[in-house]
Amino acid sequence: MNIIMKSFFNSIYFSWFVLALPSIGMLVAVINGTNIEKFIHPTGEFAARFMIIAMMLTPLLMLFPRSKVIRWLLSRRRALGVAAFCYASVHTLFYLLDMGSLQLVLDEFWLLGIWTGWFAFAIFIPLALTSNQTMVRKLKTNWKPLQRLVYPAAVLTLIHWIFVHNNIGPALVHFVPLIGLESYRIYRNINKKSVQSTQTT
């Protein structure tokens, strides 16, 4: 590949552009007067998708340690995570605009399909705010445990997705690959530990 082309596709701006693509059509439609309600679901779906992809990369690399694609994607994991947060923010904003009344929002807050979404979003905020080099340096060894809050956020997202429409299929289609990979990762880690302990004894 031509070197200019290569640096173009490798630039972080290109990654940002690709991650922003799904939002462009939606924003154009909203500006042209399409009802916001139509885009509550897709914005949430893309938030979940990007979060799931970001979370899948480490266990995928355990499965395919030589894969250049996965290594490249890993170098874009922060962008994926921040994009997930951006879509989640628009998702929340569209929901609030569509409801149009604080009273209505509070009335349904404690429904299982709703509070789980709010709590997932609340977790996303500190994760996104610390997704930069300055915060990595500042938080030192606390950074990783903080970012691991993405696991409870993912569980909340899954529950939110299932219960907000009582529809289990689409949520599972998205989450089953991640659940499978995480199970593999746990299995591998447990095995590694038992190998290590038998070696030391």
Partner: protein, 99 residues
Amino acid sequence: MKKHNLLFTSILIMSLSSAVNATGRMTCDSGDQDSWKTMDQLQSVIESEGWKVRKIKVDGGCYEVYGSTPEGKRVEAYFDPLTLEKLLVAQRGKILFKK
């Protein structure tokens, strides 16, 4: 970390199994669409009861209405297209009414 994973997995399995029970997709044995009442008829009937209608579509042989109840709750509701009888009302997945 192992303990946490176990906890999350068990929460996940619990919520999934309850979700399977809760899934309340409605189907109607309503036959040919020619004998159905129209969406406009449904809309005017429930609007006169105080509902706000945002969208009506056909789902599982039923009319599915997106809108608000007379109490102002944002819901999805299913109606029989032959009789316009109310079958199911769910607010963000919580079933408020089921025939």
